[in-house]
Symmetry: C2
Subunit: 531 residues, 2 copies
């Protein structure tokens, strides 16, 4: 929300990207890194033919690893999964009250949320077109509920715009569209479009602008019924004798433009954020748990891989578990360990892949979950679900899309920090991150200090099992390394969100796993399977 | 979706209004009738002071009547409610499997829906700013869930536009905005705005249009990443080797404009339809039932009021119940009977009110609930909740916002007919209405004929307890009759959605009841209470 792009520092740019994480600018930034698009799911992988007793060792019980394990086991493979954590899911992860979490550096947090309240440190919403994720949810009976992305009654906040006073999404959205419609209607009537749009279409355009932009009969976006029915009333209609409404005064074009709050308007228009979105009832970890129930006895937890070898005879993976050193052997290996971690593990692959493994940076991000003594956002402000955006380092506040009107406490996603600010937050103690989230959030909700109860903070660069949030592709990196990483190197293949064009999304992880399972199976069938 | 407004017949106009029921045009039509705005709820009515044993007879156990009954009983009044139906709620009504319903004319329908599936013939969604409704939901423990109004993956359909082929909301929305942004950017760069917008603001405007409208670096809305990230891809990004996306081709400005599908784009921008919206878990009737639980023993059901008298001694209401004639007496009366019905009941009020009672027309509308053998809209088309719009007489198809991925059957709101088409539908047999809904709906969803199971249809002009849908105010009627209807005529006062500026909404009914309860209480306290 800086006013002059030219004068922006890198830090300011990243702050702006952060502002609209899940919003327009973040989306564009992510897009230029190759993210954010739809799934090409066409149904579960069909692995036809008998693999003849071939075995597959899968490294990592995140969604990629468990998808590969599930499908290859179904196809007749002997499957074993080694997982670093003591739980399934990987970044598919939910912190509930009573959970403990120790980050790199040793700081341990005990989640103090009340029963039923939670934070999803990783993925927290599912687009309706992520068909692979949704298909497994359906297959495994994971109950879904609506995730509210856009809430017209949520806030847009900039430190400078409107003197730092938060505005309702509704007002900024209605006024931006209204002014755009009015300006285009005026241009049309002044013949500025005569070279671009036929006369007949201009008539329809004007009619459409009036309808869509809430213009009055003279194509003005002015105080009146039309605009109030979008941006809200000064006095709302009511019942009985004194129920007549009073109209509200729109902001000026200049106020809207200079506030830069329009940067957050397109969030819900982005393909990944379009209604309908979902969350699993009870937390995102319900998906990981559902996969794990299908893989009873297949996953060995608390197994830390230290070395990955292969030769003509098979794959041999060294790992630490239960205080001892172990070696697991198999004919084939699918490795879903994030490259940020894998790059520190000796692995027998060709030089090209070895190099590529070391090249992908992992995004920094930090999430804070804040429990409050009551759901003041609902009680005081009629904000139910959805997201408020700010140009403060926290970038957003997200309200729970479930349990509306619940008595007792409530948990907000109190910050989703990106870029350089994420590194700063990561360098703080967890308690300090939480304190900062409360301090910043109070600029949107003055109830914060009084109602704050406890909080928890996850900085992804300190998460022991990923050392980062997701593989941060850009076009140059992708042209250089992506196809190498997709190759089956002898008996070893990689999978995960980093081996997809939908990084950071669960859908990318699953589609990557299905792709590699299919190709590996093809190779197995072609080469006779066993070592 | 007619192309030439001038040539539109009244029927076509009404069809268009119908098209966007719950959408832009219907909203505008309703708005010009005084509808559609926010609640001025400031908390429950405070009825202070002891009414000294005064009694109130309330006619109608809809939300208005039950609100008045609840608040006045709490304030110390002796309260009795007479209700025509054998259930509470009035238009707050849900048809579940096993229910029977007999309309005026004698046709009886037996609802054949599966367990847990339902149709709300009346109100079906609650705006987040309808504070009075929501407050009672919270107070009485009515669980709420998100109602999905806008679904980017739902359909927009016109018989003429795009050759009658339904389009995704996403494509029309993205392309309309994209073309508007591109045209305004071109106008700006051609200096057409120089008299309207400062040079500095023009720079910000251009930047905002690029961001908001998904324009490319040269301010074009063209095939490419920017537009595909709004309208979707030709080939969606995926995992592994063949995951690279392909961009989609936007529709032309002319295609979008001439299709007139833009008429449905603003539906979710209208104040009453803005996210977050709610529905009670299990059906809208949960609210009426919750009120009724608070009024145990107060409501007499199946009581048909035949005459309403008053004199200096009190109010005397004749009614039929249990095959006999009865008279209920009280000091005061709040009558919530819809004017469409009340106008046929003798009532002792002044000439002005008597005239006014006969003047308000009631809107016609018809809803069809259709049960299908499976949730094909989810399985085949990834449509989860939300609304598809069409210019066919059914005007819309609404998909369930709950029970996503449920196995077994599902129920759609298969039509919401307005205006002249509603009269036509009302004149059909219920089975014929359902048959028509299936026939029309098949133009949007070819699965309809194969998957249809059973249906139910409610034509509001044949509903015995209302003879219409809601009081259809316009400005002239309101200036002539509204304040008269708000008066307390001796010992009798009226309440209901028709005595509010939020007609057709439950909020209007409740606010009307609170307004009248407050004023009646004031009068009682001023006049000594009892007769």
């Amino acid at each position: 929300m800086q006013h002059h792009r030219g004068s922006m520092t890198r830090r300011q740019l990243l702050a702006r990207i952060g502002l609209t994480a899940g919003g327009a600018m973040m989306y564009q930034a992510m897009s230029s890194l190759g993210m954010a698009a739809e799934s090409d799911w066409k149904g579960p992988a069909k692995l036809e033919g008998n693999p003849g007793g071939a075995s597959v060792l899968i490294l990592g019980a995140g969604l990629a690893g468990m998808t590969a394990a599930y499908e290859m086991r179904k196809a007749g493979y002997k499957v074993k999964v080694l997982e670093f954590n003591s739980r399934p899911g990987g970044r598919n992860w939910t912190l509930h009250g009573g959970d403990s979490y120790t980050e790199l550096g040793g700081a341990t947090q005990h989640c103090g949320f009340d029963q039923g309240l939670y934070l999803n440190p990783g993925p927290w919403r599912i687009p309706h077109h992520h068909r692979a994720v949704l298909s497994y949810c359906k297959q495994f009976g994971v109950a879904l509920e609506s995730f509210v992305q856009v809430n017209y009654n949520a806030l847009l906040h900039s430190q400078k715009g409107f003197g730092g006073k938060p505005q309702r999404f509704r007002d900024i959205d209605a006024d931006y569209k209204g002014h755009v419609a009015e300006l285009l209607a005026k241009s049309t009537r002044q013949r500025a479009l005569d070279q671009l749009v036929s006369k007949e279409d201009q008539e329809i355009l004007l009619e459409s602008l009036r309808n869509w932009g809430a213009l009055d009969h003279d194509f003005g976006y002015v105080k009146g019924r039309e605009s109030s029915e979008r941006r809200g009333f000064a006095k709302y209609p009511g019942g009985g004798v004194s129920g007549a409404p009073e109209f509200s005064e729109p902001f000026t074009t200049s106020d809207i433009l200079r506030s830069r709050l329009w940067t957050a308007l397109a969030a819900g228009n982005n393909y990944e954020m379009q209604t309908t979105m979902f969350q699993p009832v009870g937390g995102m970890d319900q998906i990981g748990k559902a996969f794990a129930r299908q893989l009873e006895g297949v996953i060995e937890y608390q197994a830390k891989v230290t070395r990955i070898d292969q030769d003509d005879a098979g794959v041999s993976v060294s790992y630490q578990a239960g205080g001892g050193e172990h070696v697991a052997k198999a004919d084939w290996c699918i490795c879903t360990i994030p490259l940020s971690v894998l790059s520190r593990i000796p692995i027998t692959v060709g030089d090209a892949m070895n190099e590529a493994i070391g090249k992908l940076p992992y995004a920094a991000s930090v999430k804070m979950g804040l429990q409050f003594k009551r759901r003041f956002w609902e009680e005081d402000e009629a904000i139910y679900g959805g997201i408020s955006y700010t140009d403060l380092p926290i970038t957003l506040i997200s309200y729970p899309s479930t349990g509306y009107h619940s008595p007792g406490k409530g948990v907000l996603l109190g910050g989703y920090v990106w870029g350089l600010e994420a590194y700063e937050f990561t360098s703080m103690s967890p308690a300090e991150r939480v304190r900062k989230a409360v301090e910043y959030g109070a600029q949107l909700h003055p109830q914060y200090p009084r109602e704050f109860d406890n909080g928890i903070a996850v900085g992804w660069h300190r998460v022991p099992f990923t050392h980062g949030c997701f593989g941060q592709w850009n076009e140059e990196l992708r042209s250089q390394y992506y196809s190498t990483l997709c190759q089956i190197d002898g008996r070893i293949a990689l999978a995960g969100e980093h081996i997809s064009y939908i990084p950071a999304w669960q859908e990318g992880a699953i589609l990557s796993a299905l792709d590699v399972a299919g190709r590996l199976h093809h190779k197995v069938m072609a080469t006779g399977g066993r070592a």
